[in-house]
Symmetry: C2
Subunit: 162 residues, 2 copies
């Protein structure tokens, strides 16, 4: 799916909050709900998803909580969205076979929409969460966030990637 829904919002809220902590300092769900008013269980589950994907680390038990692991300037919005709501798809029609659109055979706009979907994904992949949270949302670049800084070493044959 495509939209920034509640889950993504809670993820961003949590990430922004954790980013401002000292390294090693933990954040509890209780803390997030108190500060930002987001519902406990829902926020909890979102954090668990982020933890499962290694973006944050969880510590259980009495003084447990969550802790940011990665550098948000190296994490794309696409990755976060994918962690909490699955692969970005601008239209249900594009879905892999089961549940996919039944008009696919005769549809005259499948390829334009597929292409558009790719562009949107590129956009989200090129947008670092760190910059987004700082309010710096540049126009999209085709260069995915994960690869930034690797350009120098990787040389010029990057076109074959993916």
């Amino acid at each position: 799916m495509n939209k920034i829904n509640r889950k993504v919002e809670y993820a961003l809220i949590g990430l922004k909050h954790m980013r401002s902590k000292q390294p090693g300092e933990l954040t509890t769900i209780k803390e997030l709900t108190a500060l930002y008013g987001c519902p406990f269980e829902a926020t909890s589950k979102v954090m668990q998803m982020l933890a499962g994907r290694g973006l944050v680390r969880s510590e259980q038990g009495a003084h447990g909580g969550y802790q940011l692991v990665k550098d948000l300037s190296r994490v794309s919005l696409y990755e976060v969205m994918e962690m909490v709501i699955g692969p970005v798809e601008i239209a249900k029609c594009l879905h892999g076979e089961p549940g996919g659109c039944d008009l696919r055979q005769s549809c005259n706009v499948v390829s334009p929409i597929t292409l558009l979907n790719r562009r949107i994904i590129e956009f989200y992949r090129g947008l670092a969460v760190g910059e987004l949270l700082d309010g710096r949302v540049a126009g999209p670049r085709s260069q995915p966030v994960e690869l930034r800084g690797l350009v120098a070493e990787a040389g010029h044959q990057l076109s074959g990637v993916e």
Copy 2:
């Protein structure tokens, strides 16, 4: 809303079909359902919306139908989406007051999301439906489709527009 849902799909299907007709030649809903398998009533309503907004023209009665009025290379995807599903909003949270998010007061990511929304809108505004249907989806440009070609006359002080 943001997603390319069924309504938008039907609109694009119809537009692409009509675009290939001779000037003055009409297209009926029956024709569209026969060719592309889209449901009659739903498609019908979408065309009525496009007609109400002046993108297509309708002719009633026995040999009636719809006819493309505007040049699709001058119509942005944003405009079409807006005609059939209302203003593009990447997150419900941004909704104008009624129904808007109740966390707005305390939320720490309102402004990043607002900005992101603006970028997405810019993207859709910069994307001509004509080019999209031809499979030419370029990376986003900040120049809205409606203003293209006016650049030469308008000179260089376009930054103040909007």
